[in-house]
Amino acid sequence: MDCWSCGAERDAKRFCPTCTKIQPVCERDSLFDALGLKAEMAQPKLAVESAFREVSKTVHPDLFGHASSVERKLALRATEQVNFAYRTLKDVRTRAEYLMKLRGVEVGAQDSRTKDPAFLMEMMDLQEQVEDTQDDDALEDLQTQVQARYDGLLEALTRFFDAATGTQDDAVHALDELRYLRRLLERLDDKLEELD
């Protein structure tokens, strides 16, 4: 790969090692690559946040105010990608969905959604339970339960992606379930707020 500006070999780096000019975003790079992180579920505490800040310090368009229009445009593209990577990877659930996407399965797409009737019934029951409960304490109990289930699924997904434990089908199902549970948790939050 050659630098657009000086023509020297640049080895897929974000900045040309010869002339230091910013390079185009590499389409093959994953969002983990964009932040310089390993493609794993488990990330040290605040690793995503600090990686995001460090990379931003090198590519943010504000730093290219006096550069050429090509460089400004490249900085904007790089920053859009870095911002998207940050948004996707900082939340553990969306991070898991992205890891699954790297394996070729898009969670939430029409054809991948679960059609298991027993599961869908269970989710509807839970939703009704939330709607019907008006008591503060009962809602908080429900919140604790749902949160525990949510966290359990994430732990299972971490074992699947990082330690190859379990099947991909189960992992896809877990991701589907997390989408329902997240909406449920948001609704619980709103209801508790209303009662407050």
């Binding site: 800040r53 931003s56 006096h66 859009e80 911002n83 998207f84």
Partner: protein, 622 residues
Amino acid sequence: MGLLQIGGGPKEKCAGRVAGIDLGTTYSLVAQVQDGAPQVIRDAEGRATLPSVVRYSPDGEVSVGYAARAGAEAHSGATIGSAKRFMGRSQAEAQAADELTPYLFAKGSDEQVVYFQVCEGKQVTPMEVSAEVLRVLKARAEEALGGALDGVVITVPAYFDDAQRQATKDAARIAGLTVLRLLNEPTSAALAYGLDKSEDGLFAVFDMGGGTFDISILKLDGGVFQVLTTGGDSRLGGDDFDRAVAEHFLKEQGKVPEECPPEVAVRALAEARRAKEALTEAESTSLQIEGQDYLLSRAQFAELIAPTLKRARGPVRRVLKDIGIDPSELDGVVLVGGSTRVPAVKDFVAKLFKQEPRGDIDPDQVVALGAAVQADLLGGNGPRGDVLLLDVLPLSLGIETMGGVVEKLLHRNQTIPAKARQEFTTYADGQTGMDFHVVQGERELVADCRSLARFKLSGIPPMGAGMGRVEVTLSVDADGILDVSAEETTTGVVASVQVKPSYGLDDETVEKMLLDSFKYAETDVEQRAMAEAKVEAKRIINALEAAMKDDQGMLEPAERQTLDKAKASLQEAMAGARHQLITERTTKLDELSAEFAVRRMNRNISEALEGITADKIDGVNA
């Protein structure tokens, strides 16, 4: 120029002339970075603030600021304050709030834009009113900086939506300003505050001005100012306190506030504002509403504004929930905006955040100071590398799908600049066009969000249903402003897109407003020449004074007298209105002092040979 050249080469950096502008609801300010520190630029009377008030006289004269406000009560309909509240709003929205109002609205030619009837046959939009304020600040900055501005950073409430941001940019264009960046007010305040204190941690900025309320939480970490979450209400501020007080006393007189004529409203609101400001220091104050005297205590005032203030609670709770922290985990709460001077507001913040808020930087100036710093980073001295602002989108952006439901593509609190794509498929055989509706807001239903733009993608080649695929891209730049594009992807045919913004002055209208203000163009040129002449004159005088102070002994009394006389006549010219005369007398003074300069230079050379460094000499003259 003789005196300036003594002892050293040119040390001017080639930086652009830039400034930061806080375009507020009630007050506006302009600031610049000087010697590395931001400073507010004051007017000739030494005042930092400019009331955001514009008066249109029937004879066509326009006055801005204190002069306009002073006459407000005598000429109500023609005096416009708080135009910011109407930026980017439609007529329906402006009139929906059934309240005491000092304005006369007009129908105008576009329902999406508010028009004020200012005199017979003359209507102005909020953007034109704001442009008048900007023009005054522009002139003030250009005089201080000694030349035309290359660009400005203008601050906006973080909670401003796309239409309000667009409107602000339009106002700047009408005023002939180049906008380097629209910067969110709380972020700007944090920048000024953080740089001043050089303290890392998690900070909340509680920003309540005349008309808008913002709450942001930022992480300050080694020069990176990262906004984690932001919320607010773009129609909540000190104006509402004034209104609560005015309405209370009008009701006591048996009047219906929303039916009061504008002149009554103007008087009552002005009186309420005076009382509010007095109660910052005093325990009680008197006020006169429609000929009757009342006494208002601080406690009673707090009670009157409590329902308004309570509206800030929701947004505060939401931002805390967004990042999942308890207020006690914050390293500080910073107060910004004039309304935070109200003791009841301070108490409210302390209770809500479970800690005493900080207000050690002037809450009126801190936003403008931050804007000056950002302007300097973007267009002045260039990036410093050690300071970076990472801001977020305040409200989600999405596209209407089947059944009036919003599909969110970009989410609130997402770091900007950001871009998202979404694919839509054709639903009918042979379909050649597709309609899109872009909205902004958090609600699920389109009807509850704000409509930003509608557009039609046409020219799709006829195919079976579901075969045509259209990719829509929404991107938000660092100003928080949206750009939309669409493309048919299956066949690779790029079809045309027409985006019709729901709000917006189209380019033609802005051009026309610019033309309307052409009469200003000439005064602008005059003002600029005046500013440049004055700066040059000041430079020569300062250098001469410094030199005379240091080397009194080098001048014969007669020489000294000649120089003093030339200086006095230049100063006299500077007080006048003719820039040609200033330039003439500057040249004269410069010529007269040339001999003195040569003498000093010769002396300096001999001193330098004896080991006195050029730096010291440079320091004396600079």
